[in-house]
């Protein structure tokens, strides 16, 4: 299997290279970045480590709910936590009855009504010897009282709040795991509460008491900002941190301002895997891949545990293919040299190298299968050509040319229905107010192509969701001609690095404006009366996008963090991490609800 995958890969690599149409200019690479102290992963990991420490030596069971299970699994591997004497994992809603008095129970739970109730029941008839209870968020006193009254056997040793109430997707990236956050009328109460809890727990775990700015045209952003502010002032004691330097900033944005980024095909490793295969809590299912071995039916992509992934997740597809090839060569060399074990010494060496060997073989086969699958999808659906047009649509204004390209692609048999529909969506968004807009004609061609009704309707729904009326930023740069011209000027000066990765998310511009103090207060007002704050520049910035962030934006933030001249450190979060499929689901859900309400 590896042989054929390798062959396919090299042909693909050459294709990728020949498809690079523009020369590249290398500007002097950024050499130095000072390390910084905002890391989502370590924030959560340290909490979990502290829990296992506080309960002292002895066998332990970790009692969790559905959400905290994901929280923990994002930062700790099973074998890693085993070494901290945690041997059993249990869901509080599993209703297990078997008592094991010789175990210590670490309960890490969200402070929900159901959890408090179940925990109180558990304490009345405790199955474990002692309990160390950690709530992932601010817990009302009344609930603590309920539990205290239930603890008749005095089994509770600790009860604390450890604010790990978010999914740490990366050092600078967090998600709240909310697939759909919009409702036509604004916030759903429960989802708003979850967002407030999630964002405040991020702030607490990083010890930040920020000023808040929000996207002015979004009522939801404003509401969220205000509710977070209320928590900050209500729990002011909790938010008293010794803050050195400039005050941190929480920036709340709305996905509607940039509906383009989640629609594009991606070419950096992590983003591409998510777009084409979907990453769910660091897990990717490969069950549909023909001939895949049993242990690779579901693979884990964790930058914490997979060194190869950690150092390559931001490389583009061409580079990752190259790296994989090298890795495979080395692996084959090794496995070959290991195959002829002639002397005892050889065998001994082999056994001594075994852990690394085993580790390496696992890593290699996993990534080979992944990259091979990506390559075959890309070939099968003509993704290079599709992506090129997508990128042009998102970056340049050339109506007739674009229309022609889209028509040509719609006629192409290989192009997937989803991709075809997405192209028309991008067109509809860009040329929404163009005099010779032909969205209607394209929709007709979609229908002729046999694209499902749902997808065809989605074209209008996307415009309804994130069209010009819903945006406040100049996403396509229609108004500001000067900026556009200079932009093009730079592009021509430096050449385009890669046709498939020329699009930069709107977030980059927003953050650059912020870093340079150019962000307008009319578009992103401060919450409350903070006129004196406006003069101060924040260094630590936490961005939260209602309606989900994307891995492409995560990459941009990573690059911003590595640009010392900007002088800002950013953490990005969203209600979820979208790819185009999940994004369209959200757009769809938002609009069906609105339609139902309008009727």
């Amino acid at each position: 299997m590896t042989g054929s995958a390798k062959k396919g890969l090299s042909s693909l690599l050459s294709k990728w290279r020949s498809d690079r149409k523009y020369t590249t200019f290398d500007f002097n690479p950024v050499a130095t970045f000072s390390p910084f102290k905002m890391n989502c992963i370590s924030a959560v990991k340290m909490y979990i480590t502290k829990m296992t420490d506080e309960s002292g030596p002895g066998m332990k069971v970790l009692l969790m709910d559905k959400e905290t299970t994901s929280v923990v699994s994002m930062v700790y591997g099973q074998s890693e936590i085993q070494q901290r004497e945690v041997y059993l994992f249990e869901r509080i809603d599993a209703g297990n009855q078997e008592p094991m008095k010789h175990l210590k129970c670490i309960a890490f739970l969200r402070p929900t009504k159901e959890n408090i109730h179940s925990l109180a029941m558990e304490l009345r008839r405790p199955r474990y010897g002692s309990y160390y209870i950690y709530f992932s968020n601010i817990t009302p006193k009344a609930d603590i009282k309920t539990l205290a009254e239930a603890d008749e056997q005095e089994v509770v040793r600790e009860i604390q709040e450890f604010y790990g109430d978010f999914l740490a997707m990366g050092p600078h990236l967090f998600s709240l795991g909310i697939p759909i956050s919009y409702q036509s009328s604004g916030w759903d109460h429960d989802i708003l509460t979850r967002c407030v809890q999630g964002v405040t727990s991020v702030l607490l775990s990083l010890q930040k008491n920020p000023f808040i700015r929000y996207q002015n045209n979004s009522k939801m952003a404003k509401r969220l900002a205000e509710t977070i502010r209320q928590v900050l002032s209500k729990e002011s004691e909790l938010f008293e941190f010794r803050q050195s330097g400039s005050p941190p900033l929480l920036l709340i944005l709305d996905r509607r301002d940039d509906p383009v980024t989640p629609l594009l095909n991606q070419w950096t490793y992590q983003a591409m895997v998510h777009e084409l295969l979907t990453i769910n809590n660091n897990r990717v299912s490969l069950a549909h891949v023909p001939g895949v071995s049993k242990e690779l039916k579901e693979v884990v992509l964790s930058a914490e545990q997979d060194e190869f992934y950690a150092s390559n997740l931001y490389l583009n597809f061409g580079e990752i293919g190259q790296t994989i090839k090298e890795l495979m060569d080395e692996f084959q060399k090794r496995s070959k040299s290991n195959r002829k074990l002639e002397s005892i010494q050889d065998m001994k060496n082999f056994v001594e190298a075994y852990p690394q060997f085993k580790k390496m073989s696992g890593t290699v086969s996993k990534h080979v299968v992944l990259v091979g699958e990506l390559a075959s999808l890309m070939e099968r659906y003509n993704l290079l050509e599709v992506s090129e047009t997508e990128q042009e649509l998102s970056c340049q204004e050339a109506h007739s040319q674009h229309l022609q390209h889209i028509r040509r692609l719609l006629a192409n048999e290989k192009v997937r229905h989803e991709d075809a529909a997405k192209l028309v969506m991008l067109y509809a968004l860009r040329y929404e107010n163009h005099s010779s807009n032909d969205t209607g004609g394209l929709i007709e061609s979609l229908k002729r192509k046999g694209v499902s009704d749902r997808l065809v309707k989605m074209v209008r729904t996307v415009v309804e969701y994130g069209g010009a009326h819903a945006r406040q930023s100049d996403l396509f740069g229609h108004q500001d001609a000067v900026v556009q011209v200079t932009k093009r000027f730079f592009k021509d000066l430096r050449g385009v690095e890669n046709v498939y990765t020329q699009h930069k998310p709107l977030l980059v511009e927003t953050l650059e404006d912020l870093a340079k103090g150019r962000m307008k207060e009319t578009s992103f007002p401060f919450l409350g009366n903070n006129s004196n704050v406006a003069t101060k520049r924040s260094q630590d910035i936490i961005v939260f996008i209602i309606g989900g962030a994307t891995y492409q934006e995560a990459l941009s933030v990573h690059q911003i963090n590595q640009t010392p001249s900007l002088g800002i450190r950013v953490i990005l979060g969203g209600t979820t991490i979208h790819n185009s499929t999940t994004f369209l689901n959200e757009v769809d859900a938002a609009s069906t609800r609105s339609r139902v309400q309008n009727l």
């Binding site: 008095k101 539990l147 604390q160 607490l204 001594e352 340079k516 690059q559 640009t563």
Partner: protein, 498 residues
Amino acid sequence: MAEGEGLVLEGFLCPICKVDFGSAPKLLSHFEKEHNEDKDVIQAFKDFFDKAKNKILKNEMGSGVDSEVQTSRKVLGYSPSLYKPQPLGAVRSHMSYFNTVRSHHLEHYTVETNKLLIRLDKILKNLPSDPLKRKSHEQQVVPWVDEKMVRLCPSCSRSFHLARRKHHCRLCGFVMCNDCSYSLDLDVARKMTSPVSQVQAASEFHGSTSLQQLKRSNSNSSLNSVMSLVEGVHQKLDLGLRVCKECLHLLECREALRESRAARPILLQFYERLRSYMQDASQFLPTYITMCNSLSYGESTYQLKEAQALWAKLLRLAENIDSLSKKILVLGSADTENPPRGRALQLQQQIRAAATAFLRDEMLGLPSLPTEAKYLEMQEQRRQELKARIQEEEMEAQAAMQLQKQRKERNQDRSVHDERANAHQDTVLLDSGWTPEKARLFSSDDPMVQQMNNLKHYIKEAKLAQRVDEVEALERNLQELQEEYWRQQERKRQAAED
């Protein structure tokens, strides 16, 4: 820029014909083609263009105007160097509030429970076997509530009649129906009232706290023999005490607590031993690795024998960990009727998995020690290397010396009149020329030698005391001293020869 119509044109305009070319290179080529009659203008335009280009590019790089951030094409992944260790996030403890509420709440329970226990004890003492006598005895201890006052059963709120008769809880004296009452086994009750130490002694003696065995252990008590007489005569319920749900719950809770404090399953004992082995192993590991590395370089900081002893110790620990975790894995599986199932089994499997992971990650990849012969060889090699290095240094020093000498001579030749400088140099030479003599004379009293002797002594003591860390530090000191001494001696010798 302003045209007659007052329109402002922007873009890549040609300054002469005012046509927008859209991009810089196109504009430049147009200008060169169309307006090439005036060389000065071209030059001026070119200069301006370059300047603008420079300025914008520089600006872009400096402050990143529209830099699109990315300046290096190759994007690094996550690396730990990017992140400094951060402090633990905010935490808040509710323990003190929890404790206040709990102790307040428990106070009531403890008082209630104790009251029940005292009553139970009184009832059990001299409990008559005759049912009527027994009833009055029970009533004596706990006054019964007047049953006429109660119309409905307080726990199921159904009315009483002929078929649903009223019963009294023997512990609180309250009324309930038959369905809502429970029977507390007298043996269990007796166990509850007996002091903890006695129960423990009994359970330890039999290795279990099961009811059957308890009964046997108490079989010689007079009470029990009385009971065995009663057993056949009375109905099943009469064997126990009729109690209400609340009283039973209180007593059961206390019992569960007592049991869990006393219980120490065999798994726990095995596990604790396993952990202590693992801790020992992880304690010895770093020492062994440094020893091994040092030895394989042929250094003499550690004795090969010590390292071998440590290696043997580690091997033994690894074996123990392996066998003990295997034992844990199969614990109880010999019991064919009731093998460990479900989570108990899972726990045992996980412990074994953790132990194997520990062995695999920590112990399997350990470097092995060189053999005696190999070690000697390495030592020899290292000695040779050291010698070679010293010789090299010597040569270099001599070469430098000669160079200096030559220069000096040249200097003297060239500038005879600059005597002061030369005189100065002479004094320096003279000074360094003096000391070796002294050193050689008092070499045995050299403070350095004394220091070294002291150190050697300390090391010997530390080794005897098995303090590996200290030995290591001392050895390092000694080595430094020796090297320094060597260098000093060399310098002195050279100086003397000079």
